[in-house]
Subunit: 228 residues, 2 copies
């Protein structure tokens, strides 16, 4: 499948790399292609520059947000939640069309200090904001409660014995995303479909606890598991 990824960070790289490895055609979108490739210093998070990752993934293309969105039959939003709406506008409503958008982002706002708060929550969510702004898009919230490494290698924590939450308004879109998740290695018995996109409030709002557990463990290699 042709898949467009919005965002060149840790999450975009993890998902883009995995999809390419699985045989999909992947184009990653960025604001400024030449600028992204020209960076040679490590990111503020200590990651190697995108250009280093790109050299190891020659089959993955880099393009503008608009070109990546036009390229993909299915899209992933892997941008920081604080800029997701702006990026989707740059991608362009015409290019987004009525495609499936897997929304992996979280509205984490570090501007008020660490640990971050959420820029939207409680009576709304980023998933809902995106769905309302682009009503034709089939937004499926998924993978946002999970570290990038675990997203594409669920067995890297507790041998894969943990839970993933998914929600969205379109049943067929959720089915397609579950197929992709299964190809990433997720056991679909562990994927809990909460219902429509308003349930993104629930999954985005566990991020404050996620961030605190990251602090406690000094590692992002943990997962929520729902036991009954």
């Amino acid at each position: 499948m042709n898949i467009g990824i919005l965002g060149t960070g840790m999450v975009g790289q993890a998902i883009g790399g995995k999809l390419s490895e699985l045989g999909h055609n992947v184009t990653i979108g960025t604001r400024d292609v030449a600028g992204t490739l020209a960076k040679t210093e490590r990111t503020p998070m200590g990651m190697p520059p995108y250009s280093a990752w790109q050299k190891e993934h020659p089959n993955v293309l880099l393009a503008t947000f608009a070109d990546a969105a036009a390229f993909g039959e299915l899209l992933f939003n892997c941008t920081s939640g604080m800029v997701s709406l702006e990026v989707l506008k740059l991608a362009g409503e015409k290019n987004l069309g009525s495609k499936i958008l897997v929304d992996v982002s979280n509205p984490l706002d570090v501007s008020k200090g660490i640990p971050p708060s959420l820029s939207v929550c409680n009576t709304d969510s980023l998933g809902e904001l995106i769905q309302r702004t682009f009503p034709a898009l089939k937004v499926v919230k998924a993978l946002n409660t999970t570290n990038a490494t675990v997203m594409v290698n669920p067995r890297s924590v507790a041998n894969g014995d943990h839970s993933l939450f998914i929600c969205g308004n379109d049943v067929e879109a959720k089915r397609a995303v579950k197929d992709l998740l299964a190809s990433f290695g997720w056991n679909l018995d562990h994927v809990l479909d909460l219902g429509d996109i308003t349930n993104a409030r629930g999954t985005e709002m566990i991020l404050p606890l996620w961030v605190r557990l990251y602090g406690l463990f000094q590692s992002p290699m943990f997962q929520f598991k729902i036991v009954r």
Copy 2:
């Protein structure tokens, strides 16, 4: 130990009953003692009236919020989060003193529809509000992510193999609460101490997901487990 419980609902009954069974002297506080005992109809949640429970627990005393707070060397806040601050004011700053208050409540607000939103979250929490309002009190947030049955019988879900979150500013107070949790049957290896009371933001904010999972499973008998 003499323990005061604020709130006669499902949570107050579960914790009060367990503490009494463990040999503690328990007084439960309510707004209007005669009124609470006079009720003969089931609660809006379908529970038997308090008086029926009281008959089965003759060792547990019922008193005003102020008298229950004065009685307890250690207190539990088992009221609905929307009225917790009001109840604590009725209990009286003098009676609360510098005691340990185990805050089990959540600021669930059903006035804007179901599933409920939170009346405070993100950059504040009910745990912090209570701590700020009564600075001498040693507030320990615990058990608020757990159904009442599971609180006092952790093995009732997944044979006890799940996580509990605890936070508060006073290390000695948290130690005393952990001792009580152990007496309830909690494996302390599963009790994650997140740090100071600001971490109540994290644990209260998973309630919106908890409520949605309750809807999905049509049962409150599930738990969050953190796996690594």
